[in-house]
């Protein structure tokens, strides 16, 4: 499909395309560019160097460091950050994993040195109560306000009940109006 489209494009804009090609071919740079394009994949492609020999360790290291905050660039995880600090801590985590430490032991190690702040999921403590339950408190306040508001409105609606006399009068007006509309 793409090929057909591009062939059609060339057919329709033959002049434009030939001008482009002429400009490109006339330039020595183009030849250079072509050479680079051809040669570079051969020279430069290389397998990404595995940072640890063991892919399982590497996988666990990345999974764990995604849960941890880089203190230098605070909106990035240790897994995502390119700072030296994150690099060092990734090395530390990797070494501890190789030494057969559990994820909990490693996060405890980091929390002991950097505080709860390294954790993206804050633990439940007295000083994080508001953080954990605040949203639910607000939800509760909102729900209460809504219920009170709806009740009040219903009360107001009930108050406008019409008397017999008023209904008769209203019907009369409606009748008169519809008669008038016909003529």
């Amino acid at each position: 499909m793409n090929l057909i489209l591009s062939l059609e494009f060339i057919k329709n804009h033959r002049q434009l395309v030939t001008t482009w090609l002429r400009i490109l071919l006339s330039k020595r740079q183009f030849v250079l560019l072509l050479t680079i394009l051809v040669v570079s994949p051969l020279g430069w492609t290389k397998e990404a160097v595995p940072v640890s020999e063991n892919p399982e360790i590497e996988r666990r290291m990345i999974a764990l460091s995604e849960e941890l905050r880089c203190l230098v660039c605070q909106n990035e995880s240790l897994a995502g950050s390119r700072s030296d600090f994150a690099k060092d801590l990734r090395r530390e985590i990797r070494e501890q994993l190789i030494a057969n430490k559990s994820n909990k032991e490693i996060t405890d190690f980091l929390v002991a040195r950097y505080g709860d702040f390294v954790l993206y999921r804050p633990p439940l403590r007295t000083n994080t109560m508001l953080l954990w339950f605040g949203p639910f408190i607000f939800l509760l306040i909102g729900a209460c306000t809504l219920i009170i508001y709806l009740r009040q409105r219903r009360k107001q609606l009930e108050e406008v009940a019409l008397s017999e006399e008023q209904i008769e009068k209203a019907e009369e007006i409606l009748k008169r109006n519809s008669d008038g509309g016909n003529t």
Binding site: L71, V72, D84, D88, E92, A112, R113, Y114, G115, D116
Partner: protein, 174 residues
């Protein structure tokens, strides 16, 4: 009346929260190490590479551990103050040369002055991790029993030195 007062009160509360929240410095993270024994180390000295210094060598005195590096711009900011403090002889300052190159570190001290009794070398940042270092410069006040009493993250300013560090040091020495 309440109809108009309630939003106003809510707004004022929100503004108060924002005022406090936006004035907090997100870089200042309370260190969990305060009140805990300073992590032990035994590291090579910067000047005399064949000698080492261990944290336990400093037991019995109040000392400052200043984490610095030649690549750290903010270290230059606090450096004159440290040199001055060292001259006053109030408290010994030890330097932890963090993730630096030896020749650059020596050049740096040569150029800006050396306030340190001894600088020790943490070239791969492992002792830094033990001390929870994340923003150089950092300064730790360590007491006679080897417990961390205070941690300054970022450069030491005249204000911090006079209002916090020096009174603390004097209290600990006394």
């Amino acid at each position: 009346m309440i109809r108009f007062l309630l939003p106003l009160v809510a707004f004022i509360v929100l503004v108060a929260f924002l005022l406090v929240g936006l004035n907090l410095n997100p870089r200042k993270i309370p260190s969990p190490l305060i009140g805990k024994p300073a992590p032990a180390f035994q590291l090579q000295q910067l000047y005399e590479s064949e000698k080492t210094l261990a944290s336990k060598d400093n037991l019995g005195k109040v000392w400052l551990l200043n984490v610095w590096a030649s690549w750290c711009a903010a270290c230059r900011e606090e450096h004159p103050l440290l040199v001055q403090l060292a001259k006053s002889g109030i408290v010994p300052i030890y330097g932890l040369n963090y993730k630096d190159k030896r020749d650059l570190a020596l050049q740096w001290l040569d150029r800006f002055g050396d306030p340190y009794i001894v600088s020790i070398v943490d070239s791969d940042g492992r002792v830094g991790i033990e001390y929870g270092v994340y923003g150089v410069p950092e300064t730790y006040v360590i007491d006679k029993t080897g417990v961390i009493q205070y941690k300054q993250i970022g450069p030491v300013t005249v204000d911090v030195l006079e209002k916090t560090i020096l009174p603390l040091v004097k209290g600990l020495q006394g």
